[in-house]
Amino acid sequence: MSKKIGDVILDLQNISLRFGGVKALTDISFNVCEHEIRAIIGPNGAGKSSMLNVINGVYHPQEGKIFWHGKERKKMEPHMAAQQNIARTFQNIALFKGMSVLDNIMTGRMTKMKANFIEHALWFGRARKEELEHRRKVEEVIDFLEIQHIRKTPVGRLPYGLQKRVELGRALAAEPSMLLLDEPMAGMNVEEKQDMCRFILDVNDQFGTTIVLIEHDMGVVMDISDRVVVLDYGKKIGDGVPDEVKNNEEVIRAYLGAGH
């Protein structure tokens, strides 16, 4: 691969997150560079999803600093992540079940639409123009993910693998500069995993999107990611390129147990 990895765009320093007495994350620092694929791995309950929630502002860490494009990020609400061009998918699919695939992906472009509700009610001026403009963009995403045949189907009726793909589509529709994927391949068969890998690599390659992903399939993680950070019990135990991490004593212990 001959892709260019840029400067650090997200820098997390000494992040600690507590829920009451439970320490979800303790003193974690790592960074994400532009255009790279950064994996977060670790056993169940290691704090991986909490880490993503900290990045996009759903959780607020009690300690630590977050720098986004070199600027310290202060108090943040979830909807501000979208304005900062951070999109994400969820571990348990969080699609809008009553809506069609097309409408779901259209919601991804919500922040880019300017018309107000009165224009919408009258279907006039900006409302009409925007709807067509953004439809074109959404169709590009639909083509990219090869889901043309289901664009009008309510997502509730789709099989699991396709729903995951639609969720990726909704995130992509926002044209994010950073994409957070929470177990994009969980529960998929080999073929679906291959497809999803292809999409993730293509997104990274064609659009230059920075990707932070959580995944349990070690084969996939080691193959596609540029750097890997390993968490265990809310602490960072490894960080580096896949080969380094693979041979890290502590990582092996966390995954295979102390006896080995």
Binding site: A87, F90, F96, K97, G98, M99
Partner: protein, 357 residues
């Protein structure tokens, strides 16, 4: 056979986003429009004042509730109260503002109701589901109490009864049932179209996103507070206008107790039976709930006579209540998306008929 989209190709996104993308739908709609505007030629006065006008007004109120409950997912039991706000506001605007056109006072009535709706929508920012329903129940009792308690609102009439002023637009007095029917029909058509446009645009998508998965919605960039409050405002606006029409074009004089919890429930039943989250469903539900009692009034005595059973009017009303209860349960269990969904399934089947797939 006749209902096919075969051969109707869409070459632009605009064509694909039409309200009625299939040609047969458009033809059907035109026929329906002609039928509605052609009714005055045939129907009797009874039909207008007892069936068609209340049907349209209740459909409008159901539309309001459906925007809030069906699209934005916020359960409300205060529909009748917001209608009362609309009715009393329109009355007061007519009474106290010199020379205000009636349509303007209808709009102001809607806006007043929208304001009250936002106020009672505030709890929705913290609570959901049943708890929110209880909070809107407070609106139901509080508003009716207010209208009885403060005589200024009903211009000091006894027990808060108001008599609506004449409906005069540009010198034309809408005093016959036919003219009132046409006025209501025009208003309801325009507002139904606006509602349809709202729910197919990004406003509607934001509402549905909040309804289906609010955490995901906020991560996408939807601000929950403005989205929910807008749903309350728009919904109450519709209910307010429906209330104004209820007083001015249907009953003529109304009292606060007329806008009871029963009425709120009736409108809720309309959207459950018609279809939660469907514009068409509001009309189907309103028609069903209003026509069923009339149908039973006529058919039950006939059936009883057939079997030689003794029969009284009280029995009819008891059977009505029984039927409503049974139907609500039936729809909640068998088809939670109501008549509108049944219609949609029928259309899907018709497109493929006579083939199974």
């Amino acid at each position: 056979m006749l209902y096919r989209e075969a051969g109707q190709f869409k070459t632009t996104y605009a064509a694909d986003q039409q309200l009625f993308p299939i040609r047969q739908d458009r033809i059907g709609l035109m026929l329906l429009a002609v039928a509605f505007f052609g009714v005055p030629l045939f129907a009797s006065e009874y039909w207008f004042s007892a069936i068609l006008i209340p049907f349209l007004i209740f459909a409008l109120a159901a539309l309001g509730l459906n925007i809030l409950t069906g699209y934005a997912g916020q359960l409300s039991l205060g529909t009748a109260a917001f209608m009362a706000v609309g009715a009393y506001a329109a009355y007061n605007f007519q009474l106290r503002v010199e020379g205000i056109p009636i349509l303007v006072s209808f709009i102001c009535a809607g806006l007043t109701a929208a304001g009250v709706g936002i106020l009672f929508g505030l709890p929705s920012l913290r609570i959901k589901g049943f708890y929110l329903a209880v909070a809107t129940l407070a609106a139901q009792f509080f508003i009716v109490w207010c209208l009885t308690k403060f005589p200024w609102l009903s211009n000091h009439s006894s027990s808060g009864v108001i008599s609506a002023q004449d409906v005069v637009i540009l010198g034309f007095n809408f005093d016959t049932p036919v003219s009132k029917y046409l006025l209501v029909l025009a208003i309801v058509s325009v507002m139904a179209l606006a509602a349809k446009n709202l729910v197919r645009s990004s406003t509607g998508r934001a509402w549905m996103a909040v309804r289906d998965m609010d955490v995901a919605a906020s991560v996408i960039g939807i601000k929950l507070m403005p989205t929910k409050l807008l749903a309350f405002a728009v919904s109450s606006f519709y209910c307010g206008v429906a209330g104004a029409l209820y007083a001015f074009c249907y009953l003529g004089s109304v009292e606060p107790d007329g806008f009871s919890l029963d009425m709120s429930f009736k409108i809720l039943f309309m959207i459950i039976i018609g279809g939660v989250g469907s514009i068409l469903g509001c009309f189907l539900g309103a028609a069903f709930i209003l026509l069923l009692p009339i149908f039973l009034d006529y058919s039950l005595p006939a059936v009883a006579e057939l079997f030689g059973l003794p029969f009284s009017n009280a029995t009819v009303s008891h059977i009505q209540i029984l039927m409503f209860g049974a139907l609500i349960m039936f729809f909640l269990i068998v088809e939670p998306h109501g008549l509108a969904r049944l219609w949609q399934i029928a259309k899907e089947k018709l497109r493929l008929w006579p083939f199974p797939h």
